[in-house]
Each structure stands twice: as structure tokens, then as C-alpha cells.
């Protein structure tokens, strides 16, 4: 089968590619964030949370009961993950989008849905997290890691030999959650309900 590429406007194609590409990146970001969030839970007490404009350390005992029992290996907290899913569904229709079979739809329709998902995800992320890059240097520039650098914040790859200081190319600047302010949940609230069924009377 031969395809005449000129039948499809190149700009439109590019447009949809960008949309779908950014969407894929966004979905990935979501999962990374979820993981990051779960990993952060254990050391969350170090973070400062904004509560009513007054900075106070988060009370870890009331936030995470699993802290008391598990120390060596952290048990991920399903409640935090479900809460984030609920927020993403509520603002961005995230679960609806992921649960849907994408292959049967036209790019234009996927693109339209992506706008809703992107705008909502951004609102949730910007509203509940302060994200800052770990490295301030420009990507692809040469940087030096001094002895005693934090290996979990600076992942070294490739030709790892010798002792620090290490010189290398900054591939990705990294992201760190500087502040997290997730909604508090009332006692008895069922977080497993990501979206309630809606019945109009």
C-alpha cells in the first residue's frame, strides 16, 4: 500500500504527534510522581508543609500509621496513591482516559481529550506540589560532582570509575518535591472510591 504523504497536512500531523507525545510524557510523569510520593512518605517529616500560611512540620504519626510498624523496608501507602488518583480523576478525568481503549479513536479526538487531561493534571500537580529541578545547570552542559554528593538525588551512569570528584554531562536536571500539600481526608472517608457513580434525578 502506498501512502501519499501530501494528503495529510504535515502541520496537523505534527500537532497531533506533539499532543500525544506530551500526553505520554505526562502519564509517565504521573507514575513517577506517584512513586516519588510513596517513597517520600517515609521521610515526609523532613518536608515543610504549608498549613494555613504557617509553616509547621508535618505530624508523621497522624499521617502515616505504617511508619510505626515498618522501618527497614517501607511499605508503600495505598491510601496516598488512591488519593492522588482521585484528585487526578476529579480534575483531569485521568482514570477515565487511561481506562479507555485509545486505538479505536481518531487522533483529533484523542488530542481533544488530552487537553482536558493535561490541563487538569497540571492543576493538580501545581496546586499540591512544588516541584523544583535538582540541578540548576543547563542540560547537556559539563558539571562536576564533588565528593559527598547525594547519590539518590544525582544518579551517575556510564563510565563509572575512580573516585569523586566526577565530571560528566548533565542529561536530565531532575525534579524534587519541595513542598507537598495534599488535601486532608476526613475519618471514614473511603479513598478507594476514585469517582462516585453519578445519577441525575
Amino acid at each position: 500500500m502506498s501512502v501519499d504523504v501530501h494528503l495529510v497536512p504535515a502541520s496537523l500531523d505534527l500537532y497531533h504527534l506533539i499532543l500525544i507525545g506530551s500526553l505520554a510524557a505526562m502519564v509517565l510523569l504521573m507514575f513517577i510522581l506517584t512513586l516519588l510520593w510513596l517513597r517520600q512518605k517515609g521521610r515526609i517529616a523532613e518536608l515543610q508543609v504549608h498549613s494555613g500560611g504557617v509553616k509547621q512540620p508535618l505530624d508523621s504519626s497522624s499521617q502515616d500509621a505504617s511508619d510505626k510498624t515498618v522501618k527497614a523496608v517501607r511499605l508503600s501507602n495505598p491510601e496516598g496513591a488512591m488519593q492522588l488518583l482521585g484528585l487526578l480523576q476529579n480534575e483531569a478525568r485521568f482514570v477515565d482516559f487511561i481506562q479507555e481503549e485509545i486505538s479505536v479513536h481518531a487522533d483529533a479526538d484523542i488530542g481533544a481529550a488530552a487537553r482536558v487531561v493535561h490541563e487538569g493534571c497540571r492543576k493538580v500537580i501545581r496546586g499540591h506540589f512544588d516541584l523544583v529541578p535538582i540541578r540548576v545547570e543547563v542540560e547537556n552542559s559539563r558539571i562536576t560532582l564533588q565528593e559527598g554528593f547525594d547519590p539518590s538525588a544525582n544518579r551517575i551512569t556510564g563510565h563509572i570509575v575512580g573516585q569523586p570528584p566526577f565530571s560528566g554531562t548533565l542529561i536530565h536536571k531532575g525534579w524534587r518535591v519541595q513542598r507537598v500539600d495534599l488535601p486532608k481526608v476526613t475519618d471514614g472517608h473511603d479513598l478507594s472510591i476514585i469517582a462516585a457513580a453519578e445519577i441525575e434525578l
Binding site: 494555613g52 500560611g53 485509545i102 486532608k184 481526608v185
Partner: protein
Amino acid sequence: MINPRFFVGIDLGTTHCVLSYLELRKDHSIEEADSVVLSIPQLIAPGEVGTKPQLPSFLYEAHNAELGPHERRLPWEAEPKAIVGELARQLGAKTPIRLVASAKSWLSHSGVDRRSALLPIQATEDVPKVSPLTATIEYLRHLRDAWNHELKDAVLSNQDLVITVPASFDPAARELTLEAAHSLGLHQAVLLEEPQAAFYSWIQSSHGQWRAQVKPGEVILVVDVGGGTTDLSLIAVSEDQGSLSLKRVAIGDHILLGGDNMDLALAYTLKNKLEAEGKRIEAWQIQALTHACRQAKESLLVEDGPDAVEIAVPNRGSSLIGGVIRTRLTRDEVDDILVNGFFPEVELSDLPKSLPRTGLTIVGLPYAQDPRITSHLAAFLTKQVRATEELDGFNSNPSLGFLKPDAILLNGGVFKSPALVRRIVAVVNRWSHQAAGQSVRLLSGADLDHSVARGAAYYGSVRKGHGVRIRGGIAAAYYVGVESAMPAVPGLQPPLEALCIAPFGMEEGTQAELPPFEFGVVVGEPVHFRFFVSKTRREDPVGTRLDSWTHDELEELEPIEVVLSADNHHQGQVIPVHLGAKVTEVGTLQLEAISKLDQHRWKVELNVRPQ
């Protein structure tokens, strides 16, 4: 009150409430202090409490089967009486018959009994209703409890507290706002006009530099376009013993027209566009369209902004792809609807039109019929042409036909759009140039969304002597109607005279002298007086009697009522009384009937059930 630690300002807005505070510390002056906007905990979804800098001014009357008891719980209260804020707004978008909105506009609506349970206005019979006053109390209660929850060691009732009201609020609405605060134990609350609050915020944010930006003899126009109202004021700058002094010399009429009207206008344009393409737009989608338009206009109304913004509104089912309604909002449309629709280039003589009511307005509220804000501004500046006539050092020139401002301070979220700022400045400049005057200066630097609350907190410290205070007193004169004595003519109402009882510019904490005119009032029977206000008659002393006035000069308010209780008098006895006025320290007007016999005083009620 024990020594307050914080100066707190509350902006009880038509669509959003904001609370800001300022901590007075010994180690720096108040001009260096920064005000903080409280992140207000509120239900943001059933069972979830998040914080937002704004509390949406909505109240939702949930059905008892609608939410589980734990789903409406607040950190400080297991069973809140009312659902207010973000969750109320969200639930109300899908169930409008249970949503109380614009309670503030109802609170200032003299055509209804503001204490009677009439909201939601669109409610069906079995929905419980609340009064505009109760709704105001609930918003304030949430703010008070949120504060007390966040700052446990400094309860709100022990802090210095300023609550803002529109400059155009009538005396009855001001008193009701204060009553709401008192009912919550906030007896220390003081009122401040919103345009003044915006001005204080500008002063504060300049960190002392504001003195370099204005000169004695200048007049500053404050245009505050909120979510639901447009509020105008003029502030004159003079010199007093070598330092600058400020006086608020005029306020505008109550104009129910704001940023929400603009977003709604855009949303309906898109709705029409979509329906022309054969797509059906349901009522709930208007909400989503309005929200999308609010965001889109901000990116379209900047210089070198995009030519169009894509808008996508999802459907309600779980299938997202394919069910999204797409459209685009273009720069031309926004220019046409907002810039030319709400801020057209009008002549000074182009006064707001009263149009026949259309089907779009909600029954009840006296919404502005003419959406042209520039036209309302023209009416204000022409009406106030003599605003600075009595002040020393001002070139008052009534022959110009309008009061030419020297500088302009804009406030409200709509002015995040640079095109709207440019347009309103251009329009005022054109009027100025036509009068051979100079261009106006734009005063900038204020936080458009939160400046009213910030300025209110700052005003609290100014009242304690930490900065320049805007003077001006009441920006209106008040009159009661007196039937003139004349032989009865069948079928003819005796002509009415207006007796001035409170002159223009009465300062807070002062009492007007008693007018040399007495009324005979029967003990035990309610007596009503017709009540009038003038925002332009600056020269009438107490006792002035007007036998004729233009429609523009005097505006009738709801009647006032006095009941002489029979404590010291016999039922049915006729007592000669004077009607006296005072302006309280907190900024409300109080009227009293004072017995000529024994100086006994009775309160005259401003909030009277309309007959």
C-alpha cells in the same frame, strides 16, 4: 480585648472571600511588614479538606441523603451547619436549586427583607432557605473557625479585625455586615470601603515609595471590578503641615456588574458558536465553558498573545475520548466581547442605558442593565465634577464637564488582562485630552486578587497610628422625607420635602447636630419615614430642607422605622422627637429619635421589612 497580635483583614466578596493578616513586630516598621494571605481549609470534595487562598462565597443546602455524615466534616467541626466554599460551588454547579450564590448582592438589595429566608432564589419548595444575612454569617463563621483552627493561640475574637464592604453599600447593608460579625463574637470588627482597601494595599506594597508617585492637588480614581460588582471612588491628595494627606471625596453607585459577567459573556458566545455547528450544550457545561474562558482570556489578552486558544469541555460519562466538545476562543472574539463590549471607547456624554429587561437576568437582583463599564465610569466622573470644589489646592473646573483624575488605580482579577488595562487608561486619557488635560498615570504594583483583604489588614495598623489614614467620612448626605403642611386636596399627595439629618463627610465617631425640626410620634406605634441619600450634595448642613431635587441628586432608600417603646411613656401618647444621626467608630450610620421632653433616645431601624 487583650493586646492583639495580628491585624486581620477580611474581604467578604460577592464570589470569593479572602483573609489576610499582618503581624506587628517590634523589630521592623509596619511599612516593611508583609501581609500574609491565609490558606483557608475547606472541603474541596466530599470527605476531603484542602486549603485555598480564597473561600468561594457559595453555600449549598445538601439533601440529607446526598452526602455521608463524614463527607461534610471539617477539621474543627464534626457536623457543620452549612457547606460553604469550594465544595458548595462544585455541588451547586450540578444542582443549582440548592445553591446560594451572590448573597452579598442580596444583602445590599433594598427591595427585599434581608433577614428573611429567600435564598436560594431558584429553590424548589422542599429546599431549606436562608436569608442573605445568614449566608453572610456562614461565610464569616467559616473564616473565623478556619483562623482559630490554624492559629490556635491567637483566636480571631482577640485580634484587630477589619471587614470590607463596597463603597456603594447603603447604611442598612453596612449595619447587617457588622451584625453578622457581632453574632459570631467578633465585636471588635471595623468596616472599610473596598476601593479604599485597594488603595491602602497599594500604599503598603510601595514600601514607602507611594509618596513619590502622587502630588498634592491630585485626584486618584480607584476602579475596583470584583466578581460581581464594580465599585468606584475618588481619592484626593493634599498637603497638611508638610506631609501628604488623603481624602476620599466621592463614591460611585452600586453597579452589579463584574468579572463573572465577562466570563459568562464569553461562555455564551462559545455556546452559540457550538450550537450553530449543531452541538447541544447543556446547562452544566456552561460552568465548564465559563471556567475555560476565564483562563483563556488571560492568555489571549496579552501583547503578542496567541490568536486563539483551544477549549475542550468533557462530557459527563466515563468515556472521555470522543465525548469532548471542542471549540476555540479567538483573540478577535475576546477583543470584541470584552474590550469593546465591556470597555468600549465611549464619549463622556454616553451615559449608561436602562434597557428593557431581557430573559437573561435572574429575577430579583438589580443587575446593571448596561454592561459598558466605561460608560458607568463616564457617568460617575461627570456626576462628581464638583468633588474637589471645597478642598484647598485643587483646580476644580466644573466647566470641563467631568472630574479629571490625575492617576488611576485598578483592582480586581479582570485587570490581569493587559488589554483591558490599556483600554480603560486610553478611554480616560481621551476624555482628559479632549479637556486639554494631561494623560493619567497608572498606579501599579497591587496584588489584584488579594489586595482588598491585604489593604484591610494594613488599615487595621493604620488605625493604630502606623501610617497615613484616608479621611473623608461618609461619602453621602442623608435625608428624611417630611410631608409639608398644606391644606388637604382630595386625590393629591401632599408635597414631600427632604430634611437633611446627616451631612456629607461626617467623620467616624462624630454626631451630627439635631435638625431644628421635630416630629410627633405616637408611643407604641411603628412610624415610617422615607429615607434618601445624595452622593453629590456636599454643602447641605443639617436641617436643610429641599422641596425639589433632580432624580440624579437624591436617591430613595428603603424606609426607616422608629417605634417608641412605652417604657417611660403612656401608650398612645404623642412625643415630640428630633431625628439625629451619628457615624460610629466602626463606620456605620446610626439614626436616633431623641425625645424633646426628656432627651430619651430610641434607635431608628434601617433594616425594615419592605411593605
